[in-house]
Amino acid sequence: MTTPTAGQDIARTARPVLSLAHVGKRFPDGTDALARVSLSVAPGQFVSVVGPSGCGKSTLLRIAAGLEHPTDGSVAIPTDHIGYVFQDPTLLPWRSVQANVELVGELRGLPKEERRRRADNAIKLVGLDGFAQHRPRTLSGGMRMRVSLARSLTLQPELFLLDEPFGTLDEITRERLNDELLELFLTQRFAALFVTHSVTEAVYLSTQVVVLSARPGRVLDRFEVPFDYPRPPELRFESAFTSVAARVSTCLRGASS
């Protein structure tokens, strides 16, 4: 399967919504988190970042979101429609699902009507209709993560940053959410930068997988993933898939040692 995929077609024509050029980050205590990392993500591209623990993946994402500033290099984010999904769903426990999903619009000063409309829409998109009035504590881990996704979707994000969002979920829930995320990716047409520990997850979701080295994180290698969307769940067991995953894995093992 070497024909260009739908995703890459869009990517070729669209301008990147995130470009990092030679980004380095040194914390005030002297630890080097990142060194000369360059990458760009355009709408229709799904880029995953894998790397050993503590290699600065999360820092990279925080820089991309503007939560941290790089000490070296430059960052261009020509949009403020940025969705950010944390490792933890970060829901406000005193708010209902509906009110949690409306939060981002509320903070951005959207009018009430519009906020409500977008929230209803987003809740439907993640398949939580009927749970709008529930409190987060009554939901399962997977459902909470869906609420978190819905909250970011209300922004109609052009850039979606995800920091190991499914890391704490069981495998079945995780695979289901992978498929749901891909469906959102195909219908909402955002650019995604996804941090994960799982090579399988990275390859399954992405148009490109970036492998970072141990701290300070540098880009060791990039792997284009040549499979068309929508991707069937069985793709994970096909030999073409496993051979890409094996190459990423090998590179990652080299990074950790």
């Binding site: 925080r62 950010y84 944390f86 933890d88 970060t90 406000l92 005193w94 509320e106 903070l107 987060p136």
Partner: protein, 274 residues
């Protein structure tokens, strides 16, 4: 409800109310035993039997009126002091949470205030401000202030970094962050502080009263008065009533916490049930 579920429910109620009732019956039995077996007629005034306490302390209309008036005064003092401590304490904590330098400059003095045995300073306040209603409220306020400030501040400060990031990401300003994130997150801690302070305010109102022999008669004055005249039935009644009042305040704040944060936070669950 199925028969089995109903039986379980009944068994649960049995445990919930039956077990404490057995303890109460045992305690009252012990009480009678001490009054009638351990003490002679001459010394019985030290522990008058329960029925005498009930008859003289609670059922005699004059004595009851005296007790209830005292309780009412002490309750008003405690609740007003607590209310002031809540309003001022929460405001103070909010101000301190806005800047480290403010916290650093104010907090040591709050600790000092807390470390000073307030009751030991009561005579001084009486000396300055007189022994009226306002001074009694001031004592309760001072005794109740610190737990509210400390717990509120703790609550405001312990919001997750991720939640702060979320608010930063979407351009929230200070007020928005305070109203939509920090204060709601702090509610369970605020209620913890209120519950501690409510107990302290009751103590402040009753014990502080010992120092206020002049002016209106509160619970503490009554207790001291009954003691000095060996009116032990009324003394017992006054102590029991004070305890019941403390319990009522505790349950009230438990119920309030349950109502406000029970839907989303563990601390708001039924604390008396477990």
């Amino acid at each position: 409800m199925s028969a089995a579920a109903w039986r379980r429910q009944r068994a649960w109620w049995g445990w919930r109310w039956g077990a404490p009732a057995v303890v109460a019956a045992l305690a009252i039995g012990m009480w009678y035993l001490v009054s009638y077996r351990l003490l002679t007629e001459d010394t019985r005034f030290l522990v008058p039997p329960p029925d005498a306490v009930l008859r003289v302390g609670f059922l005699d209309p004059l004595n009851r009126a005296e007790l209830l008036d005292g309780l009412l005064l002490s309750a008003r003092v405690a609740m007003l002091g607590l209310a002031l401590a809540a309003v001022i304490g929460i405001c103070l904590a909010i101000v301190m949470s806005q800047a480290r330098w403010l916290e650093r400059s104010v907090f040591p003095y709050l600790v000092l205030l807390q470390a000073t045995p307030i009751l030991a300073v009561v005579p001084l306040y009486g000396f300055w401000f007189g022994y009226g209603f306002n001074t009694r409220v001031l004592v309760c306020f001072l005794i109740a202030l610190f737990p509210i400030v400390a717990n509120t501040l703790f609550g405001l400060r312990s919001v997750d970094q991720d939640h702060h990031d979320l608010f930063t990401l979407h351009g929230a300003n200070r007020q928005t962050r305070l109203w939509k994130l920090q204060l709601p997150s702090a509610l369970p801690s605020i209620f913890t502080g209120l519950r501690i302070s409510a107990g302290l305010a009751v103590i402040g109102a009753i014990v502080g009263d010992f120092f206020f022999r002049q002016g209106e008669v509160g619970m503490g004055v009554l207790i001291d008065y009954y003691r000095s005249r060996l009116q032990s039935e009324q003394l017992f009644a006054a102590v029991i009533l004070s305890a019941l009042f403390g319990l009522a305040v505790f349950l009230l704040f438990g119920a309030l916490a349950r109502k406000v944060v029970g839907g989303w936070h563990e601390s708001g669950r039924d604390i008396t049930a477990s």
